[in-house]
Amino acid sequence: MSWDKVGLPTKLRHWYGDMEVEGYLYTAGIAGEKFFKTLKERGKLLASRCMKCDVSYLPARAYCPSCFSEITEYFEVEPEGNVETYTILRVGVDGEKLEEPVIVAFITFDGVNGGLIHRLGEMDEKDVEIGMRVKAVLKPTDERRGEITDILYFKPA
């Protein structure tokens, strides 16, 4: 039986419910702790390398998903890389029109596998292109909390 024609769904007998878990506390994990500590304290990105596969991962991983080795080799990477792909947001998550378009990019870094998704800034949407060089703009050291938004955005390098 379809009730499309009833119009307002609340005209049917109903019980309003919600899934009332109020929120989640996610841990950064073993490698994540190191990654965000490095970002907060040193303003650098942290990668890790599987010595067996000779493959590196950014953000750092505690284990190699390819061979299952534990990874103990961590190294810092300058927060400067290349735009692998990007998109330009004109409407927000609630469908509202954005006054200023937001540019979001997938950025890869020199000598490591993986990368980050982040916003681009200090540039016009007409100037963004795949392959362009960008570098991170960080919050001042005393405002950084060890989270991905310690990076405000990436700007042209």
Partner: protein, 393 residues
């Protein structure tokens, strides 16, 4: 119901792994999965390259707070670039995961399957209890603002009434399992407690008291399951999966006699037929029975036909289910003692049977010689039964 019990290809468990079970773990769910999976491969003497396929078990996404948990867990479970699937039957998942691993191998599709179960219950705020609230019928039951413990309390009370079971005898299960857990290196709630401690603990929802209940836990467990050909090559002591069974009852739990878990019996009969077991009470040497609450161990023993209806409390009182008894039940310490990271808790039980049948359970090793063991889990809205029977090779 008809089942082809003559499945041609034999399947062996050759390795098991487990993380610590704790209230809050730093590790991400992926990192927990990796720790358990790596330990299982190391136990088997295999490497990730040897793995043909991966089966992941995890209960509601709402615990870890990540949707598509199977896909999310894949890179800590060896799922990169491999045929990988996730299975889910609520609390029954932990035993259903190796059942799915079994059919991956028994079907002839794969020779080496990595089976991983993970649950991280600590992220959900303010309490993971809220996740459970949404298993209820939204129109008939949720308007009454039910709590998960309600349903157990009513089932427990019905069971006590129908078979004239004393709370003191139920409390013995909690005492036994928490004591058994003292020998488990992963255990969260190992303790020496007395029946009086249980009876004097806070009444939460009558007749359920604080010490009748398993805790909230983060953790992961893993198994390596292989074909006979691989098992013969890599080990002298494979543990064969001899029977598997699973069954669902209605979520309309008011349509059931709560004193007896019929769906567990249906699942058990399927597994016993496959394993050629006619008298489970005599033929099962050691059992890991799902015990999120102390009375559930008794309830499930009866559903598994390891005891007659109403007889499990008597066997418990007589010491039959102790580690040195004639039918050791939950020598690991169970969910009450080791902890209850839902899916990982069920798989921990299968891992325990693997270690018991290999004689590798250390301080937890049961006294009697153990050749045939059983693990069972139960879940969803008190309606899913999953059973696995294994034998030492």
């Amino acid at each position: 119901m008809k089942t082809n019990i003559y499945v041609k290809r034999r399947v062996a468990v050759v390795g098991a792994g487990l993380t610590l079970f704790r209230r809050r773990m730093l590790e991400t769910p992926k990192e927990l999965a990796w720790e358990a999976a790596k330990m299982a491969l190391d136990w088997a003497g295999l490497e990730l390259d040897d793995v043909d396929a991966v089966v992941i078990g995890s209960a509601p996404d709402a615990f870890d707070g990540v949707h598509m948990k199977g896909e999310y867990l894949a890179d800590g479970s060896g799922g990169w670039g491999r045929p990988t699937m996730r299975v889910y039957v609520g609390g029954g998942t932990g035993v259903f995961t190796p059942i799915a691993g079994w059919w991956h191998v028994a079907s002839g599709l794969f020779d080496v399957v990595l089976v991983v179960a993970e649950e991280k219950m600590s992220p959900a705020q303010p309490h993971p209890q809220f996740v459970f609230k949404h298993i209820w019928d939204p129109i008939l039951e949720r308007p009454l603002n039910p709590n998960l413990i309600w349903i157990f309390a009513m089932e427990m009370h019905r069971y006590m009434y129908k078979y004239n079971v004393r709370k003191e005898d139920i409390a013995l299960v909690s005492v036994k399992n928490k004591r058994n857990a003292l020998d488990h290196p992963a255990a969260q709630l190992a303790a020496k407690i007395t029946v009086e401690d249980v009876l004097n603990s806070e009444v939460l929802v009558y007749p359920v008291q604080r010490l009748d209940i398993s805790p909230v836990t983060d953790g992961a467990a893993a198994l390596v399951m292989v074909s006979e050909k691989v098992a013969r090559r890599i080990t002298d002591s494979p543990v064969w999966v001899e029977g598997v069974g699973w069954a669902l009852d209605s979520t309309q739990w008011t349509n059931r006699e709560l004193a007896y878990p019929k769906y567990v019996e249906v699942a058990a009969r399927m597994a016993y037929r496959m394993a050629g077991i006619n008298n489970p009470r005599k033929e099962i040497d050691v059992a890991e029975v799902y015990d999120p609450f102390d009375y559930k161990e008794l309830h499930h023993m009866e559903g598994l036909m390891l005891a007659r209806k109403g007889e499990a409390p008597i066997l418990t009182r007589e010491g039959v289910t102790e580690r040195d008894g004639d039918l050791p039940v939950n020598p690991s310490g169970g969910l009450l003692g080791v902890g209850n990271p839902i899916a990982a808790a069920g798989l921990m039980k299968v891992a325990e049977i693997f270690w018991q049948l290999r004689g590798e359970a250390g301080g937890r090793q049961v006294k009697k010689p153990a050749y045939t063991g059983l693990a069972q889990a139960w879940g969803d809205l008190m309606q899913a039964g999953t059973v696995i029977v294994m034998r030492a090779g």
